[in-house]
Amino acid sequence: MVAVTIWGSLRAFTDGRAQVEVEARNFKELLDVLAQTYPGLKPQITRGVSLALDGRIYREAWFTKIRSDSEVVLMPYMAGG
């Protein structure tokens, strides 16, 4: 199981929990399971999210491997100028 930290405004869709546990080996599985388990997260996931894995931020990288002891933080999709 992977512990995923959810940002504050999404907690309304995870029963108020700041951290949820999901079974996932990579970024894609994590997003799929989150959307399935917590349907309220689906609109945000569809609009786009980033994933911080042990401090490193990823965008779109579905096959990024996640270890069970990794620090996993869901973040809004990064944009810049």
């Binding site: 700041a18 931020i57 779109e60 990064m78 100028g81």
Partner: protein, 747 residues
């Protein structure tokens, strides 16, 4: 300091300052910018824009314009399909209004004609019947329940019931027990701030030439930060397949985030499709201000608690951003960045994006961060003043470092904030004496940086030179930096390498030049492409020497036997291998494509001294020093240029720049005479100190550089002015009338 397996400690080319490859073309006027491209039979495109801040379009009659001799096409929103995707729909409706106009300057129709005079006359013949609607341009007013609704039904699911319909999104970040944190504070300061919308202020206006032929194939030349993104947007809006549209990016006269979307490009393509001729559109400065994207305007409340010895016990911010008449996600970035420089046990940011009758926001260097960090750093400075503490010592005491759980969630790896603060503390600027009436301000700043989708080709020419094809417009010296990294990896002189920017049909997809990504991500792809070419060259040499490929190594620009057991062969240079490439298997090229990650966050600290003229309210910047963790500075002159440029843009934002709207909702200062950017005579030399804390995610330790330096100036200037006049300023810009008003109110 951990670098990956391709660790490079001693550089020969990286870190030097070769002449810029685009220098001669630019100083002699030969460089081709967006407006410089022409085609035989080209028509002139012009756009009719709304005189209203908010109005329903009851009808558009184009018949008289179409009948005018010399007019070849007239288009409206009806010439574009309605998009199902809301983001694409916003792009289309920003390029050409559908149903109602949402801001002063919103496009409603366009013409293509033989001459500028005919095009101008044709615009006057287009009859648009409007029904004016109530408008709102202020973010706080737009959040009131009775505010005019800019667009109905645009709120995301994360907006709580009961909020004004103009609120499109809400976000929240942070951790810890705020109540306990504030209870532990010796002093709590709570303040409200506003920042005006400002424009990126690039000198080159948007310009493009579109040419679509009867078989549906099209070429588009334009000034942009991302030709692939332009292709994707235009192909979708025009109903084309991407392969049928080739987009070529011109030289770019500044972008700063403002050229990361489309405004005139789909319009020119639609006019070309309708007229059957090439169509060129060049925006006027008035159009650039009114109808391209400025940054968000903001209204922010910050509350911070501190102990007597300067430990921050809790921080909270409420941020209200308006990205104009369409949804924008910049609030997410601002709310994450606000407290990123601090190691906090209790922190919370809550943010909202709010619709107003202003042009659609477009990114501007570190979008969202300058406003948020301005408010936080202003309150930190006030706490330091009230508690009699040194502002640098307080920041050192509370600075985020490796292992800090950031205010936006992830735990930081190697970061350079402490080193940057220590460099500022040790610099003579920090202890230089100030005269009466002068003030010194400082601020830390932060930006995320990212990598993204990248594709690079590297060709070994038969004369031993190297050509690199990459797909990101060069807005900050990337061609030089990429050539340097290729030369470093291949072991050849910089002068042997030339890097060019490909059009969309010549190379695979590349994300936009944004997010401070290019030197990091394209540089990394270039290193990998060079390694690919090296591997092929070593294989050719191994065949020639009749030894195993593994027995050949690449050192100092030569293939060599890996050791005595591999055999006795004289080293072969890249030029020697290239010269016989046709005989050894054909041309040699390296290639790499990937989605880069590991960009590494960046921190900066700015110090500024000012003097305020109490008679006029004018602020003079006396001294300015930028300290920044740049990772490895590939071309230090360009890095310094980015640091200086960001500081100057931030000085303008802090002191003078703002979008000024009248009661009628119309923009009153759409030109550089009334929208005042800093000029050279306003500024001292901007001193720079580069800290090179290697990024563990890059083999040379490179980090993004371009965005971070615009973050600290707002608070640094505000803190300096506040200390100079003995009065805390909480509104940007601190223009002379505002400073006079503040001084007058104090009396």
């Amino acid at each position: 300091m951990a670098l990956d397996s391709n660790n490079k400690r001693v550089f020969k080319v990286v870190g030097t300052r070769p002449p810029r490859p685009d220098g001669i073309e630019k100083v002699t006027g030969r460089a081709l910018y967006g407006a410089d491209v022409s085609a035989p039979g080209m028509l002139v495109g012009r756009i009719l824009r709304s005189p209203h801040a908010h109005a329903a379009i009851l009808s558009i009659d184009t018949s008289a314009a179409e009948a005018l001799a010399g007019v070849k096409a007239v288009i409206t929103a009806q010439d574009f399909a309605v998009q199902d995707d809301s983001a694409l729909r916003d792009v289309q409706e920003n390029c050409m209004a559908r149903g109602k106009v949402l801001y002063d300057g919103h496009a409603v129709a366009a013409v293509a004609a033989l001459t500028p005079a005919i095009a101008k006359a044709a615009l006057k013949l287009i009859k648009v019947t409007y029904k004016a609607l109530p408008h709102v341009t202020d973010v706080d007013v737009a959040m009131r329940p009775d505010a005019p609704v800019v667009q109905a039904g645009r709120s995301f699911e994360n907006v709580p019931a009961g909020m004004a319909e103009n609120v499109t999104s809400q976000c929240e970040f942070g951790h810890g027990d705020l109540a306990a944190g504030f209870a532990a504070a010796a002093l709590i300061v709570e303040r409200s701030f506003t920042t005006a919308a400002v424009h990126q202020g690039y000198i080159e206006p948007q310009a493009c030439l579109a040419s679509m032929t009867a078989d549906g194939k099209a070429d588009l030349w334009c000034c942009t930060q991302g030709q692939y993104h332009v292709r994707a947007l235009c192909a979708a809006l025009l109903g084309m397949e991407a392969s049928q549209l080739r987009v070529t990016a011109s030289e770019i006269g500044g972008g700063f985030g403002g050229k990361t979307t489309v405004f005139i490009e789909p319009v020119a393509l639609a006019l070309s499709r309708k007229s059957g001729k090439p169509v060129k559109i060049v925006m006027t400065r008035d159009e650039v201000f009114k109808a391209t994207g400025p940054t968000v305007s903001s209204s922010i409340d910050v509350k911070i608690g501190m102990t007597k010895d300067g430990r921050i016990t809790a921080g909270e911010a409420h941020l209200r951003y308006s990205g104009g008449a369409f949804h924008c996600g910049t609030i997410d970035m601002g709310a994450q960045a606000a407290f990123a420089a601090y190691d906090l046990q209790a922190v919370r940011t809550l943010g909202w994006n709010v619709l107003t009758n202003r042009p659609k926001e477009v990114a501007y260097r570190a979008p969202g961060a300058p406003q948020a960090i301005y408010a936080v750093e202003s309150v930190v400075d006030e706490l330091c003043q009230k508690l009699g503490l040194d502002p640098l010592d307080v920041r050192l005491k509370n600075a985020a470092r490796k292992g800090t759980k950031s205010s936006y969630g992830p735990t930081f790896d190697d970061i350079g904030l402490m080193a940057t603060l220590e460099a500022a503390k040790a610099h003579p600027h920090y202890t230089a004496p100030l005269a009466p009436g002068q003030g010194r301000g400082l601020s830390a700043g932060f930006w995320f940086n990212f990598g993204g989708n990248t594709c690079v080709s590297l060709n070994i020419n038969t004369d031993g030179t190297v050509g690199i094809t990459e797909g990101n417009p060069d807005i900050g010296g990337s061609r030089a930096a990429i050539s340097q990294m290729a030369a470093e990896e291949l072991g050849i002189p910089y002068e042997k390498v030339r890097t060019i920017i490909a059009d969309t049909s010549s190379l695979g997809h590349n994300d936009i030049t944004d997010g401070s990504r290019v030197t990091f991500a394209v540089g990394l792809a270039t290193i990998k492409a060079a390694q690919d070419a090296i591997q092929k060259m070593c294989a050719r040499v191994a065949t020639l020497w009749e030894i195993d490929a593994e027995a050949v190594v690449w050192e100092d620009g030569c293939a060599k036997p890996s050791g005595p057991n591999a055999g006795q062969f004289p080293p072969m240079t890249l030029a020697e291998i290239a010269a016989i490439s046709f005989n050894t298997g054909g041309p040699i090229a390296g290639h790499h494509e990937f989605n880069a990650d590991g960009a590494g966050v960046s921190f900066g600290v700015h110090l500024v001294d000012v003097e305020v003229d109490r008679e006029t309210g004018a602020t003079k910047v006396l001294r300015y020093t930028v300290f920044q963790d740049a990772g490895k500075a590939v071309h230090p002159s360009y890095v310094e240029g980015q640091m200086q440029g960001g500081a100057v843009q931030g000085i303008g934002w802090a002191l003078n720049e703002e979008y000024i709207y009248g009661e009628d909702g119309r923009l009153q200062n759409a030109g550089f005479l009334d929208y005042r950017v800093p000029v050279a005579s306003d500024l001292p030399n901007i001193e720079t100190v580069i800290l090179e804390i290697p990024n563990p995610g890059h083999p040379y330790g490179v980090r993004g550089v371009g965005e971070t330096p615009i973050v600290p100036p707002l608070a640094a200037l505000s803190n300096a002015v506040s200390r100079a006049i003995g009065l805390r300023m909480n509104r940007l810009p601190m223009s002379p009338p505002r400073i006079l008003a503040a001084l007058s109110a104090k009396r």
